[in-house]
């Protein structure tokens, strides 16, 4: 029963955008569309940075992600990991530690993408 509840729980939360825009559907839809176009690129860039052990890229992209995720409520799920990656990249720590955190970030962002894709055309 618990597992079933977890399955239907949403990863994304648009309440920040809805509240800030006083329910302006056009604005929310545009922000979601921007997220859907930007986020996969950020994830790709982060994966590339990790594969190449390019700490400067990792730090830059992690920072970018940190600014993007609160718009759709993903900060509740992955802010800790994103902040840790940004800080780890500054200290050039073991790439495996970054990979562990990236795995969670990627999975949450993919889930968000699939949740928001239909929303973007419906709102």
């Amino acid at each position: 029963m618990e597992a079933k509840t977890e399955n239907i729980q949403k990863t994304t939360d648009l309440s920040y955008l809805i509240e800030l825009s006083a329910g302006n559907k056009v604005f929310v839809k545009e922000m979601v569309a921007l997220f859907l176009s930007e986020n996969p690129e950020e994830i790709k860039a982060l994966a590339k940075g990790i594969a190449e052990k390019n700490y400067k890229t990792i730090k830059t992209v992690a920072h970018k992600l940190r600014s993007t995720i609160p718009f759709i409520g993903l900060d509740k799920h992955i802010e800790k990991e994103v902040v840790e990656i940004e800080s780890m990249a500054s200290e050039s720590v073991d790439i495996k530690e970054i990979e562990i955190r990236f795995s969670k970030i990627k999975s949450v962002c993919e889930k968000a993408y699939f949740e928001l894709s239909p929303v973007s055309s419906v709102i």
Binding site: L20, T60, H63, R66, S67, P70, F71
Partner: protein, 143 residues
């Protein structure tokens, strides 16, 4: 609590704000709010572009992201103060809302800072309060 300072509509229309932000979603959000509040604004994606804008246009306030490609918020603010000799208020917008970051912002020439994600009321209060001091009171003193 929202500031009780009110900028008259006819004055608001003359105010020009420069937003410097590299994040596309961030730019969209700030633009939406400034438009909603009735201010004119220009938006650019990094410090270098901000300096180009400043050479071409007159602004009353700058909302400045910190970590940006090409030229970051600290470098840009220093340049604005030291080379362009401009005294307009520069408000930092940063994800690193720490005391250390606040000090760094002040040293670079910024007057204040706001933490991301942006809370509308906080941004409104900061923007209106600084504009009130630099634009509205200045005009009132002239007459």
């Amino acid at each position: 609590m929202i500031t009780d300072r009110v900028i008259p509509k006819e004055l608001k229309e003359k105010i020009n704000i420069l937003v410097v932000e590299d994040n596309l979603l961030g730019r969209k959000l700030i633009g939406f709010l400034l438009k909603k509040w009735g201010f004119h604004y220009d938006i650019c994606a990094n410090g270098k572009l901000a300096l180009e804008n400043l050479k071409l246009n007159k602004y009353d306030l700058i909302l400045m992201d910190i970590q940006m490609p090409e030229m970051n918020g600290h470098e840009t603010s220093k340049y604005i103060r030291e080379k362009l000799k401009l005294g307009l208020p520069i408000i930092a917008m940063t994800s690193h809302a720490t005391e250390e970051e606040r000090k760094k912002c002040l040293i670079s020439g910024m007057v204040d800072y706001i933490a991301k994600p942006i809370v509308e009321e906080e941004l409104y209060n900061l923007t209106v309060n600084y504009l009130f001091t630099t634009v509205v009171e200045n005009l009132e003193n002239k007459y």
